[in-house]
Amino acid sequence: MNRVSTKCLCFLAATTWAYSQGLDGSTRANWLHYGGSQAAWRFSALDQVNTANVTGLVPAWLFQTGDYSDGLESTPLAQDGVLYVITPRNQVFALDGATGRLIWQHKPPASRPGRAGGQAYALSRGLALAEGKLFFGSNDNFLVALDQKTGREVWRVGIDDAKQCGCNVTAAPLIVGDKVVLGGTGADAAHRGYLTAFNAATGRLAWRWYVIPGPGEKGHETWKGDSWKFGGGAPWMTGSYDPELKLVYWGTGNASGDFYDGDRNPETDKGKDINLYTASVVALDADTGKLRWYRQEVHDDQWDFDSSYEVVLFDREVRGRMRKLMAHMNKSGLTFVLDRVTGEVVRAFTVPEEQNWITGVTEDGRLIGRRDPEVGKPVDICPSVGGAKSWNSMAYSPRTGFLYAPLLEICNAITANPQEPSEGRFHANGSMSLHLPPNRSTYGHVDAWDPLTGKRAWSVPFKYPLLASILSTAGDLVFTGDPEGNFFALDARNGNKLWSYQTGAGHRGSAISYSVNGRQYIATPTGWQQSLTGGFAASMFPDQTFRVGSTLVVFALPGGAQ
């Protein structure tokens, strides 16, 4: 084994990276945002652990949260040697990043009894950090600010009445200048989704942007009758921010009800924008929350193909000109590379291997050959409501220029069934049953995609669906985990598997990298999620038990810290 010194962190100069001009979305000693940086690269510039020595990676410490309610889905944050992690039931821990020693623990008061919608999604996925405070959206639908030093609550502010709206927050908030911005759940409920910005210092409301325009607003005409009032679209994951352009980027959820459009679609031409601004990616003014541009990715969604996933911001040369770009992969696996100044489509492509909801997509993003659900009759649709990709994030490397995505191949038979909406109640307008696509033996893969050509550079198949986020590093490594409990490293350049470690429980969270006193650590949450997509995936493999748990497992090269 090629033993390197672990006393120092030997950064490669950023300028030597192939695609490192312009926006720098990488992290170093700290991991301050859900997506690493506000550009959501999930790329660490640390390269102490690299392709040459990754086989020497061993556990440095682990931490059991004790909250085994539904896995550990969050992305830890790291600042100045302290790690912060939140559990599904909103317990927050501050840990010594080098040893795992507990510094403080925040245990929230019991949730007020609420409606099923708010209570069903007790799945906190992360924190935000700014101005000496940690922020999270709670299961009972408050934005809570904790003192970063003590874990004590500083303030909390109600986002909505979970009992009424059937909504809450599972995603990590995003820091946008002096504000905390967060979306919420409720895209599958009779609920009108929104993003809300609060002042990070005072907790006071800064702005709220409704996904669905109200009467008199542009886009309102894309809704039939009163369907806009409870039309879903909730942006339930975390967006990105470009401080130079002062634009906030966010993906929005599906229209509600999910599988039937008869009561919400006023159009006959399904190639047009329908039910704005659901299933879209939007750019909002950071100061005011006003819409600057949008791109609806799935017109008249009837498959539950949210576009609420992460938005990766990067700068690249396109036909001789440097462009400010963003990449956005939605639940269907449809991927848009857009100019993030104007929203213009630079490239569109689609990533699933099993796909029949459309026959394809044009380079400028128009869907070809739709296969829509029908009332009262099951229609086989691939991918499933679990997605070609779940909410777990892809990563970007400025060294290779690739996007790395965890993907799955599951199909479902959807039966549309019109229902009257009832505020805050589940409103799917139908049902589905999942099945594995025939004639294949692998149902997950890690892919590397070139965002500018839309070509897959490499793909590594796995038997089971992959539902953990990707971490990429300047050591040319790509880390993620599988449902069986293996946490592994691939060569970012070619996908070769270089290292693997059995952590003991399934992976449904998001790994990070950070450093303390010159030693690089790789931290991964472990513990399978039994509800929602984790539960769907597990139900496809009744002979397997994807193990639950809630443990942070942290790796490093031996001897580095001493």
């Binding site: 309610s69 009894p113 609420g114 409606r115 099923a116 919608g117 209570q119 069903a120 004590r152 609550e153 500083v154 303030w155 909390r156 502010v157 109600g158 986002i159 009445d161 009992k163 009424q164 709206c165 059937g166 599958d188 609920h191 009108r192 210092a201 005072t202 907790g203 006071r204 409301l205 709220r208 109200g214 009032k229 999910d258 599988f259 539950d304 409501v385 039966t415 069934n417 229902q419 009257e420 009832s422 505020e423 805050g424 109640r425 589940f426 409103h427 799917a428 139908g430 049902s431 589905m432 049953s433 999942l434 039994q530 509800s531 929602l532 539960g535 769907f536 139900s539």
Partner: protein, 256 residues
């Protein structure tokens, strides 16, 4: 579970409310509608409980006690949520009956019958409209339920409404002597104290809706009596006619 079943059966017998066949049919039908809306949907049990992403419920040999417990309280460690706080009692009773029916059980559990607001009062048309306005989601933070909880809906920032204002003018001009002025981080703000202990003080900053609940060390906050905050400043999303409807609702449900 057996114990719960016995307890439940005792209540049913004591109340002497075995459901008639005709009524039962209606209840099952209502239950099916509730089930289709709440339980059969995409992520859950499928139409007629034949299984979708969540397990099959039909013909599982469940007894009523189990069904009642699972529907009302949820199943910890699974996605099965508690519906007792979200379904009306009538819908709860109906859906339990329906799932029982799917499992070959013909008698339904007797849950006390429901009225339109859950507090023993049938609302007038005016009051019903007032109830909707009270927590109207289209008004975002400009609705009453941002600060008042009535019949389980809303956030209880203010203490429970004990006296209903006589008219719209009185509602807008409501005296709020408990709102004081807090000075925190060199900024004065209208504040409502929730608790005042020797180690921490908890209060709401009312500067702009929604109120922000602060938890601070007592020596970090200075206080002045009185404030320039006015109830009318947060009732601005409603016109007089709408406030009259809300008052009609409050008169129906607020117990003096």
């Amino acid at each position: 579970m057996r114990l719960a079943w016995f307890a439940f059966a005792s209540v049913a017998l004591a109340s002497g409310s075995l459901t008639s066949a005709q009524n039962l049919q209606d209840v099952v039908k209502q239950g099916e509608q509730v089930f289709n809306r709440s339980c059969a949907t995409g992520y859950c049990h499928g139409l007629k409980g034949v299984a979708a992403a969540a397990p099959r419920l039909a013909a599982r040999g469940f007894d009523e006690a189990y069904i009642e417990n699972a529907v009302s309280r949820g199943l910890p460690g699974t996605s099965m949520a508690a519906f007792s706080g979200s379904l009306s009692r009538s819908d709860l009773r109906a859906v339990i009956t329906y799932v029982a029916n799917l499992n070959g059980i013909v008698y339904s559990p007797a849950v006390p019958s429901e009225n339109s607001n859950g507090a023993g009062v049938v609302l007038s048309a005016e009051a019903s409209r007032g109830r909707v306005l009270f927590s109207d989601p289209l008004r975002s933070f400009g609705r009453c339920s941002t600060c008042h909880e009535v019949n389980g809906i809303g956030t209880p920032v203010a203490t429970p409404i004990a006296t209903v204002p006589a008219d719209v003018q009185a509602l807008r001009g409501l005296a709020t002597p408990s709102v004081r002025t807090a000075i925190l981080n060199h900024e004065a703000m209208p504040a409502l104290v929730l608790s005042n202990g020797s180690r921490e003080i908890v209060f709401y900053d009312l500067t702009t809706p929604p109120p922000v609940r602060h938890t601070a060390q007592p020596d970090t906050v200075m206080w002045r009596d009185g404030s320039n905050w006015k109830h009318s400043s947060v009732a601005g999303s409603y016109n007089d006619a709408e406030l009259n409807l809300i008052l009609a609702y409050l008169r129906s449900v607020v117990q003096p």
